[in-house]
């Protein structure tokens, strides 16, 4: 009796085990197979698509009816303030690439006037052609940096301030150009200093358009931190959140503020001071224009990062240099 019981139990166990194993094998076979979810998803999908289509149509209708009202209003109103973007640039391998992708961003921004100032004794054909092909409204200037102020080949980036003469030249041209225009003194406009290797989202331009005096916002990947930003309390800037020399009058990056055209015209002497110590370049301009409590915080009370201080690596040219030493370098006529 006992052995039969045991045997029965044994077979039961073995059977059980085999069944479980088969079930496991079946489950493993199901892996990687597309499951038959269609009967669950499709009706929901269809309803949602249909509703969304209707919603969009209604929104479009609303917008169309608004648009028909607006032209009447806009005839009386002026066009939105122009953003004057001053970009200093200098010849190096990645220059064309940087200016190309910068122009691709700027093409999306309405009422933008790009002022490109080359660090060069004369305008280079590379930049000239690029600006012509870009389709943007632009002004092409040039202003060479004095030799003793210029960074040499092995110098680290922070040794001498860069772009000072070029930005000042941009300001000078702008002032001259506005004065030459009738009613230029009271024209609406915003000036933004945009370096050619940073990254700009399209929102930052919309935020800065409403600048009355000087507006500020956070900048990502700068100052040795993920972002630097002004600290806003009660709608006013009270101090700056930065890891490097926070005692500066305006401890922020060039990409973190914009100045209204009116303010620049009203202060004809305001410009960047090339003799200022490291990191005080921005302050050297802003000190003469505005105080901290007059700053206008943008980007949702300075809580969003809309511009990043990216830097592009210098491409490795070891093989190129070796070839050029042999006299068989790449065709210099091909513009890079």
């Amino acid at each position: 009796m006992a052995t039969r019981m045991k045997l029965k139990l044994k077979t039961v166990f073995v059977l059980y085990f085999m069944v479980s194993l088969l079930g496991l094998i079946y489950a493993l076979m199901q892996l990687g197979q597309r499951c038959d979810c269609t009967e669950h998803d499709l009706p929901k999908d269809r309803t949602i698509s249909r509703l969304r289509g209707e919603l969009h149509r209604l929104q479009e209708q609303m917008r169309k009816s608004e648009a028909t009202k607006q032209p009447l209003k806009q005839a009386a109103k002026l066009s939105p303030p122009t953003i004057f973007v001053i970009t200093p640039t200098y010849a190096r391998l990645v220059q064309k690439a940087e200016l190309t992708r910068l122009s691709q961003t700027f093409l999306h921004v309405p009422q933008l006037h790009w002022i490109v100032v080359e660090d060069s004794p004369h305008k280079t054909p590379l930049v000239t052609d690029l600006l012509v092909k870009s389709g943007l409204t632009y002004t092409h200037l040039h202003m060479p940096t004095a030799k003793d102020r210029k960074l040499q080949e092995g110098d680290p980036n922070w040794l001498k301030p860069r772009g000072v003469e070029q930005r000042n030249e941009g300001l000078r041209w702008l002032r001259e150009d506005r004065r030459a225009q009738p009613g230029g003194d009271t024209q609406e406009g915003v000036i933004y200093f945009a370096d050619d290797d940073n990254t700009y989202s399209l929102q930052v331009f919309e935020e800065m358009r409403s600048t009355q005096r000087v507006s500020v916002w956070p900048v990502g990947l700068v100052g040795g931190m993920k972002y630097e930003k002004p600290v806003v309390e009660g709608g006013k800037v009270v101090r700056f959140h930065t890891g490097w020399r926070p005692s500066r009058p305006f401890p922020m990056d060039m990409a973190g503020f914009a100045v209204s055209l009116k303010l620049v015209m009203a202060n004809p002497e305001a410009c960047f001071d090339g003799e200022a110590p490291m990191g005080f370049l921005e302050s050297s301009l802003l000190q003469g224009l505005v105080t901290m409590d007059e700053l206008e915080p943008k980007a949702d009370n300075c809580s969003k990062v809309l511009v990043w201080h990216t830097r592009t690596e210098k491409p490795k040219m070891k093989r190129e240099e070796a070839l050029q030493a042999q006299g068989i370098g790449s065709d210099p006529a091909v513009e890079v």
């Binding site: 496991l24 990947l221 931190m225 993920k226 990043w308």
Partner: protein
């Protein structure tokens, strides 16, 4: 003795069931886990509903939400294709679609890179961006960014197993960065499009830190099989380019680094017609055992011969794409505990 048998019996009972249950959690056996699947589906639709508000003029909209129930050990894929027409990325019926495959991974400059890439792509008509993240699940940063751009996109993800990335020994060589992601995108294309009746398309592998001129995309559009062009800043040179003879055929490669590779070209230097991808479904990038610089060859060799290559960019004399690399930002002032608010997205 009986005790041991009892233990054996219990083990024999419990083991298969635990295995089965763990497997169930991962995979989806349709008839049995219908309820769980429904919850998953609903969650997805809720996510996409937030997208609707704040849109500009919309020509039309179709949402094709497909859910992938596949679950490999390494690949967990969830696919959401959204076709949203907001501001003109114009869409024409005659232009072939350019499918851009971009692998990406999380690092501080990721959002900046993708932002400026999106600003470039917004100028290109009939563009479909396939962004594949190297992550376990799709990150909210990329999801939100893609939604806000208004581009046509497909958001995929697959995680490269960590040990493959870190180790450098010959026996278990690293999977080159981005390979699994590009292969996943190729697989998605093959499963989405049918070789017989698909719309004309071209596939281009675009890394997120390069710079692309708008002219490049127009040159790509006329690709019949595989087209090639020069790329700047690769191989330690000002640019690398294919050698084109007087008859307009590619016969070699103007590079210093191993010009005898079957296809001595950078990922950004070629584009493939979608048809070719679909009729050769076994062609993928080789995952392992690939020498440096041979990755592109591992795919192209299965698709085309040197003779079939079409030179673009004025017979490969103009530079339309630059292999720029972005510096890793120095975050020294963050310190050990982080100085800045981690909730602010950069």
């Amino acid at each position: 003795m009986p005790k041991r048998r009892d233990i054996l019996a219990i083990v024999l009972i419990v083991l298969p069931w635990t295995l089965l249950i763990t497997v169930w959690h991962q995979s989806a056996i349709a008839p049995f886990v219908a309820i769980r699947k429904e919850r998953l589906t609903i969650r997805h639709h809720q996510l996409s509903d937030d997208r609707v508000e704040g849109r500009g003029e919309a020509g039309g909209q179709a949402q094709d939400s497909k859910e992938y129930c596949a679950s490999d050990k390494y690949i967990v894929e969830v696919v959401r294709t959204e076709y949203v027409y907001t501001r003109p990325p114009p869409w024409s019926d005659v232009l072939p679609t350019i499918h851009i495959i971009t692998p990406t991974y999380s690092r501080p400059v990721q959002k900046a890179e993708l932002t400026r890439l999106a600003n470039t792509f917004l100028h290109v008509p009939n563009l479909h961006w396939i962004l594949v993240e190297d992550s376990q699940r799709r990150t909210p940063l990329v999801t939100r960014l893609l939604r806000e751009t208004g581009l046509n996109y497909t958001h995929l993800n697959v995680e490269t197993p960590r040990n493959y990335q870190l180790r450098g020994d010959i026996r278990d060589p690293r999977i080159p960065r981005g390979t699994m992601q590009r292969n996943l995108a190729l697989r998605w294309l093959r499963e989405t499009f049918n070789a017989n009746n698909s719309q004309a398309g071209i596939v281009y592998f675009a890394d997120d830190d390069n710079t692309y001129s708008l002219e490049l995309f127009e040159e790509i559009r006329s690709t019949r099989k595989v087209s090639v062009w020069p790329v700047a800043f690769v191989g330690g040179l000002r640019y690398e380019s294919p050698k084109v003879n007087a008859a307009g055929k590619v016969y070699g490669w103007k590079t210093v680094f191993d010009p005898h590779r079957p296809f001595a070209i950078d990922m950004a230097g070629f584009a493939i017609n979608l048809r070719l991808i679909l009729i050769k479904p076994q062609a993928y990038f080789k995952l392992r055992g690939v020498k440096g610089g041979y990755q592109e060859s591992s795919l192209l060799r299965e698709l085309v011969t040197l003779n079939d290559l079409e030179p673009k960019a004025a017979n490969c004399t103009k530079i339309l794409v630059w292999h720029t690399r972005t510096e890793k930002p120095v975050l020294v002032n963050e310190g050990k505990i982080g100085f800045t608010d981690p909730n602010v997205e950069i």
